[in-house]
């Protein structure tokens, strides 16, 4: 008995030992990926040790939420920095207690970091997030109340810290640098506001709420004053339309936010919709847009300012596309000149203006004429650079 069971135990042990070690080896030795291995000393091409200059500037501190810093690494941000100082934008994001964790948090982790001042407006105060409590209830019928109160709050508490005041939703993605590029050709004293222009209901049109809109300080002052004097009142809960009506009353003009090739910058839908989808002919959108709708790649400026209906994962995707992923060495087709407000080379003179609302044919004809002459046209900002593909 004893010897047999002993031998049996031995075999069992042997089997167990073999299989255990095999599994162990398989995990640690056999199947391995290569990524994130420590640096090997010499490489085939004999490259010297690199200074990881890019790595140092890369660090983005997500904890410093409202602090401006470089998101684009390894490059020269002087123009963007100058615009940051000269064209100060206060961003306020329309949100609510239920959306803080699901939406607003991602807005805070991405684009609002580029605002000079960023505020999150809710019905209730939340010191942890933080959000400003507007003293309203939640719900679609409260949107205009929240808007009115939010703008009042912004002017009262932060009026001196900004020149322009942007409203956005918690599913809007905004590229502040491109907003500043458009705004830099105007002053905060102009009674003007910018956004995606719709035409119905208001003679001068109004700006889509979801795509975001931005008021000059003068526009904001007039707006707040109008509510004080009751020149404007809470007429309807449809926030963007009601605000547009008030703007018309108080003499604030709707600006043209399109780029110098007449391409839209504020977008009421997501990038995939604008770039790839065809809006059905019966879609309300066709009757709403003030400027001609372009579908496909020319729907959207290279210097897009906003997209709407952006879910959190698309928020990060847009951040990656805008501030991170690029084609090394690529010379962009669209070469916008700096706005007048900036100092330094490439400053345009006062006679140059942003292209008027004449459509793109004029621009195309000019570009064609320039091509025939074989000359780049420096006088017009934003012309397509004529490329001679090097063979």
């Amino acid at each position: 008995m004893k010897p047999i069971s002993s031998r049996f135990a031995f075999y069992l042990g042997f089997l167990l030992g073999t299989s255990t070690l095999y599994i162990f080896l398989r995990q640690t030795w056999f199947e391995r990926g290569f990524s994130r291995r420590p640096n090997s000393p010499g490489s085939v091409a004999g490259l010297k040790a690199r200074l990881d200059a890019e790595g140092n500037t890369w660090k983005t501190d997500a904890h410093i939420q409202l602090h401006h810093h470089n998101h684009v690494t390894g490059q020269d941000s002087r123009v963007a920095d100058e615009l940051y100082e000269k064209v100060r934008v206060l961003c306020w994001v329309m949100t609510g207690p239920k959306n803080l964790q699901s939406k607003a948090r991602h807005v805070k982790a991405t684009w609002t970091r580029h605002c000079n001042v960023a505020l999150f407006m809710s019905s209730v105060d939340d010191p942890d997030f933080p959000t400003v409590g507007l003293g309203t209830k939640e719900g679609r019928d409260q949107l205009y109340w929240k808007t009115i109160r939010a703008f009042q709050y912004a002017l009262e508490h932060h009026g001196d810290e900004a020149d322009w005041f942007l409203k956005a939703d918690d599913d809007t993605f905004v590229v502040l640098e491109n907003l500043r590029w458009v705004l830099a050709n105007h002053t905060a004293e102009e009674p003007v506001y910018f956004g995606k222009r719709f035409k119905p209901y208001v003679r001068q049109g109004y700006m889509s709420g979801g795509a975001g809109y931005v008021l000059s300080k003068e526009a904001l002052r007039r707006f707040v004053e109008a509510f004080r004097t009751q020149a404007c009142t809470h007429t309807s809960p449809v926030e963007d339309l009601a605000l547009g009506q008030c703007m018309e009353k108080i003499g604030v003009k709707p600006g043209d936010s399109r780029d110098t090739l007449a391409r839209e910058t504020f977008h009421p839908f997501g990038p995939e919709q604008h770039l790839t989808r065809e809006f059905p002919k019966s879609f309300w959108y066709w009757n709403y847009c003030h400027y001609p709708i372009v579908q496909g790649p020319q729907c959207c400026s290279d210097l897009a300012i906003s997209f709407h209906y952006v879910s959190p994962d698309v928020m990060y995707l847009l951040e990656y596309y805008t501030y991170h992923l690029r084609a090394y060495g690529y010379k962009h087709r669209y070469q916008p000149l700096p706005p007048r407000a900036l100092s330094g080379p490439g400053k345009t003179d006062a006679s140059q203006e942003k292209m008027p609302d004449t459509g793109r044919t004029e621009e195309k004809q000019e570009a064609a004429a320039a091509a025939a002459a074989g000359v780049k046209k420096p006088a017009r900002s934003g012309n397509v650079v004529l490329q001679e593909k090097q063979q």
Partner: protein
């Protein structure tokens, strides 16, 4: 009882040792090169800014023109929309882009390989590419749903000598075999391709039909053949060690990063100089085209050391 227990223990120890010895012997016979040499081939990084900045303007321009890529894009008629998407988007940035199909279809402008077997198709495509590539020295081989940023590939290889064998991509290891993952794109230098086409003729080392009981995937077969010619897989990564070749879509990678609850989702996701993403739908490719070649924040200038111009006759980049 005691003797059983001790027998058991002895058995376990001996079993473990046995396994260890067998695997050591096994790895010895399979491995052809020593570990030392393998380590030299593991990580392949793009040149640093400093290195490239040392070049003169004329040299930078010359380099930009000299590094040219032949794109081998595998397609199939039943997924025609990917051929359309690739043609409309990223492949315009290849110096030469050739589509290779398994069977012909009227609308599909592609080299018809008339072959259903993936491995044989790959062989034929690579042979064709080798014969028809003229002066081009770098080859990128991708599957239909892959989006490649050719400029970033050029940046990765600009300081590598294409008359040396290079086999680059997302490198994986299976047993002792190191191979480049097909789905995330395979890069071959001219010399590597030349050697490969040579070894294709060797029916013993690089057969058209696999000899083993189970069929090796094409990517592994490729690695085996290349290994016989002394060419080893290298992992393409950026200066931070992040992989440049991705077998997943950018959305998937972003979602993965989000679930990991990192403080910076985007930094935890992907490289700024990524070369490939795969599994992309046609619409996603159009959005990526816009995101890579157009969408940007005003006021940031990159003083890159290479310059690549936009292709003619295109408006989505």
């Amino acid at each position: 009882m005691m003797s059983e227990g001790s027998s058991f223990m002895k058995g376990m120890v001996l079993g473990g040792l046995f396994c260890l010895v067998v695997s050591l012997i096994g790895s010895y016979t399979l491995g052809i090169q020593s570990n030392m040499e393998l380590h030299l081939h593991h990580h392949l990084k793009a040149p640093s800014k400093e290195e490239l900045q040392q070049l003169s303007e004329a040299q930078k321009l010359e380099l930009s023109q000299r590094v040219r890529v032949y794109c081998v894009i595998m397609v199939q008629p039943k997924i025609l929309q990917y051929w359309v998407a690739a043609k409309d988007t990223w492949s315009k940035h290849c110096d030469t882009a050739v589509f290779y199909t398994s069977e012909s279809a009227k609308v599909l402008e592609a080299v018809n390989l008339e072959e259903s077997d993936e491995w044989v198709r790959l062989r034929k495509a690579l042979s064709h590419a080798h014969e028809n590539s003229g002066e081009l020295q770098w080859f990128l081989v991708v599957r239909p749903t892959t989006f490649a940023i050719v400029e970033n590939l050029k940046y990765l290889v600009v300081d590598k000598d294409p008359s040396q064998p290079f086999y680059i991509g997302h490198a994986l290891k299976s047993g002792e075999l190191e191979y480049v993952e097909y789905q995330s794109g395979i890069v071959l230098s001219r010399e590597a391709l030349r050697r490969l086409v040579e070894v294709f003729k060797d029916e013993d080392r690089c057969p058209e039909q696999g000899r083993s009981l189970w069929k090796l995937s094409e990517e592994k077969q490729l690695a085996v053949c290349l290994k016989y010619t002394g060419v080893y897989a290298e992992n393409g990564e950026d200066s931070q060690g992040k992989g440049l070749f991705n077998s997943k879509t950018v959305s998937t990678l972003i979602s993965d990063s989000m679930t990991r609850n990192l403080p910076d989702v985007v930094e935890g996701c992907c490289s700024d100089m990524a070369i490939t993403f795969s599994g992309m739908t046609p619409n996603q490719m159009h959005v990526m085209m816009y995101g890579v070649y157009r969408l940007r924040p005003f006021g940031h200038t990159f003083h890159d050391s290479l310059i690549f111009l936009p292709p003619e006759g295109s408006d989505n980049d």
